[in-house]
């Protein structure tokens, strides 16, 4: 009786919101910078991109503005944590508070104002595949962009010189610095890329997924991204898997309400995060495994040139 196409399609829509910022945050953390400001960047960009799209009546200017704001906000974090080598945790949380406040100001003018938002784009051949096509290829373009970004992010990180440099900067910045790598520049680039991906996630939320702006509409979901990076083991392919698992929890809890009490279903994403962390914790406690798939060794450690 259940329309499975619609069910899986809403999982894709929900997962994309997690996937875009997670890909960006993976790069930031791989370079050694922990950015806890994801929630702030997402919500500020969601407000900003909707407001700009409303005032210019151009959705793509809105989306780009959201990306830009994400980049600018993460730039603040980069300056504090890289240039001035201050505590990343405090700066990141500060960024979340700033972004949340900023979103209220940026979005005040467009509360209750509707616009036509991003339309579902039909891709020849792909969208026509029965079942699969209807599930994965009946979405706004930003969803397709997230599909493409997963292999690209993975390829750059693991198969190119720049990817090796990013990872080495996150593992051992001193060694990289001594090899002549511009540690700060790389970290800046990664953090700002992370911010732009968060901004894109915010734009997707207000212009592609929920299609309106109202204050506090993320309800703290941006924080899940921080956990997802760990669940993904700092790997873009893992981010894809993790985002879809979380998206599934987000959607499925409403299908099983007749059989399980709501509070139990509401706990599912959070309990599964803890479970993942525990399992990873046990696996990663072996030094050999950790050196291959674990957290970047210098994550959240400020780098000061000696």
């Amino acid at each position: 009786m259940v329309d499975y196409i619609l069910m899986f399609s809403s999982i894709v829509a929900a997962a994309t919101f997690f996937l875009l910022p997670t890909l960006g945050e993976i790069y930031a953390e791989r370079s050694g910078i922990l950015n806890l400001g994801i929630e702030g960047m997402i919500i500020a960009s969601a407000a900003f991109s909707y407001a700009i799209a409303y005032s210019t009546q151009n959705l793509w200017i809105g989306v780009l503005s959201g990306m830009l704001l994400g980049g600018v906000l993460s730039g603040i974090h980069a300056i504090i944590s890289i240039t001035f080598t201050r505590t990343q945790v405090v700066s990141g949380i500060g960024l979340t508070i700033l972004g949340t406040g900023l979103s209220g100001i940026l979005g005040r003018g467009v509360i209750g104002k509707a616009i036509d938002t991003l339309e579902n784009v039909h891709i020849p051949f792909l969208s026509d595949i029965p079942f699969i096509g209807e599930i994965f290829f009946d979405h706004p373009i930003l969803v397709y962009f997230s599909y493409i970004m997963v292999p690209i992010c993975w390829f750059i990180l693991y198969k190119t010189r720049i990817g090796i440099l990013i990872r080495s900067v996150g593992e051992n910045p001193e060694a990289a610095y001594n090899q002549g790598v511009n540690v700060n520049l790389l970290r800046f680039a990664c953090v700002i890329f992370g911010g732009m991906m968060s901004g894109l996630g915010g734009a997707y939320l207000s212009l592609g997924y929920l299609n309106f702006w109202s204050e506090g509409m993320t309800q703290g979901r941006g924080w899940i991204v921080i956990a997802l990076v760990v669940v993904a083991l700092w790997n873009p392919l893992g981010a894809f898997l993790g985002s879809y698992i979380f998206g599934t929890f987000d959607v499925m809890k409403y299908y099983f309400q007749q059989f399980l009490p709501t509070p139990v279903l509401k706990m599912a994403p959070h309990v599964s995060t803890i479970l993942f962390l525990a399992i990873w914790g046990i696996i990663l406690s072996r030094q050999k495994v950790k050196s291959i798939v674990g957290a970047p060794t210098s994550l959240a450690v400020p780098f000061e040139k000696s």
Partner: protein, 385 residues
């Protein structure tokens, strides 16, 4: 320290003194009543808090003798309410305080005890005192009319309801919607999905999609955002009823109607009576407003002055109901509810399990509806808890 430093400090000190001295004189002397509003959410939620703020702005602009202040996103614990009330009274100089969430009830009573000269009005609660009155505007009549439209227009005879919390208010609205839908088409069912939050657009979207996935083509909800409307607009042949604020512009082709609240009329009434001295800080213990369609506190529609989206009027008019058509029949029920000659909760009303809750001709009382309603009527799919 150099002499110039001293003189500079004196200068700054002097300017500050002047500022303090003059600040008291700058306010318009005409303001006799200053109302402070304590909100549970941000005024940008486009639901409950937004609707109250629209009411605040209305009275603020209407009366020159009135000034208003507000604090948004206040916690529902007693300490937070007291702190917000203290700030509004002692810092902002308010002499009337409105607390606009059920969860503020105990905090309001506690704050009122500390400020016996200030008038307090608490929205949706039942505890009163010499200086605490209560007020509420309820939408259940609108839900009944929305349910009737759903019953006439549904192709699947299945409606879905995204509910916030299983409390009497939401259960009453679900029941009213179901009674209306079954009055129009007795085969109708209303499936309920709870999101356990007053405000969570992502959750509401997922919940609405899950209901659409189960085959409903009509959606009603209690959540403070247009998320459910958007979910309906995304799908073909799925329609929805806007809640609390005018949301028709978000889903112009999928909004049939909805429920709108008019806190402006309520605040106008209360503040006018504070101004003319009818209410003071000693006589509020019997002041309990419970307003409906009759008083104009609620309105039918997804947009102000649009009771039913014109897109759906011809179809309703083409459905024959007895000697009249569905459109006229619904509007007749609307007018009878406004005149209080028709009450939706009139027996026979059966609960989900078949128990007769109200015998034929028996009307549910206000406590039945507002305090004891923790059961679903026949036709609802889901559990009230």
């Amino acid at each position: 320290m150099k002499k110039s430093t001293y003189s500079r400090i004196f200068l700054i000190f002097g300017i500050l003194m002047l500022l303090v001295a003059f600040s008291g004189c700058t306010g318009p002397e005409a303001v006799k009543v200053k109302a402070g509003f304590i909100y549970v959410g941000p005024i940008g939620d486009y639901g409950w808090t937004n609707a109250h703020d629209v009411g605040r702005v209305y009275v603020d602009e209407k009366y020159s003798w009135l000034g208003t202040e507000y604090i948004e996103t206040v916690g529902e614990d007693i300490a937070s309410v007291k702190e917000a009330a203290d700030t509004l009274i002692t810092v902002k100089g308010c002499n009337v305080i409105f607390t606009t969430s059920f969860g503020f009830m105990d905090g309001t009573i506690a704050a009122a005890a500390e400020h016996p000269d200030t008038l307090f009005f608490h929205c949706s609660g039942y505890k009163r005192a010499a200086n605490v009155g209560t007020y509420f505007a309820d939408l259940y009549q609108m839900y009944y009319l929305n349910g009737m439209m759903a019953g006439y227009l549904s192709n699947t005879t299945k409606a879905g309801y995204v509910g916030a919390f299983p409390i009497p208010e939401v259960i009453r609205h679900i029941n009213a919607f179901t009674l209306g839908m079954k009055a129009a088409n007795n085969d109708s069912t209303v499936e309920v999905t709870w999101i356990n939050s007053w405000y969570d657009p992502t959750a509401a979207t997922s919940a609405a999609n899950s209901l659409i996935g189960k085959g409903v083509d009509m959606l009603a909800f209690t959540e403070d955002s247009p998320a459910v409307m958007q979910a309906a607009e995304e799908e073909d042949d799925v329609y929805a009823f806007s809640h609390y604020s005018p949301m028709q512009s978000y889903a112009p082709e999928s909004t049939i109607s909805g429920q709108l609240a008019h806190w402006d009329i309520m605040y106008d009434e209360i503040l006018s009576k504070v101004y003319d001295g009818t209410y003071n800080s000693t006589n509020l213990s019997d002041v309990d407003y419970l307003w409906f369609l009759k008083e104009g506190a609620v309105e039918l529609g997804g947009n102000f002055d649009v009771p039913i989206n014109p897109l759906f009027v011809p179809e309703l008019q083409s459905i024959t109901v007895g000697a009249t058509n569905a459109y006229d029949y619904i509007m007749d029920k609307h007018d009878k509810m406004a005149a209080e000659t028709f009450f939706p909760f009139t027996g026979p009303i059966y609960a989900q399990n078949g128990t007769l809750m109200f015998a034929a001709g028996v009307q549910a009382t206000i406590p039945d509806l507002f305090t004891y309603m923790d059961w679903f009527v026949d036709g609802v799919i889901g559990t009230p808890g």
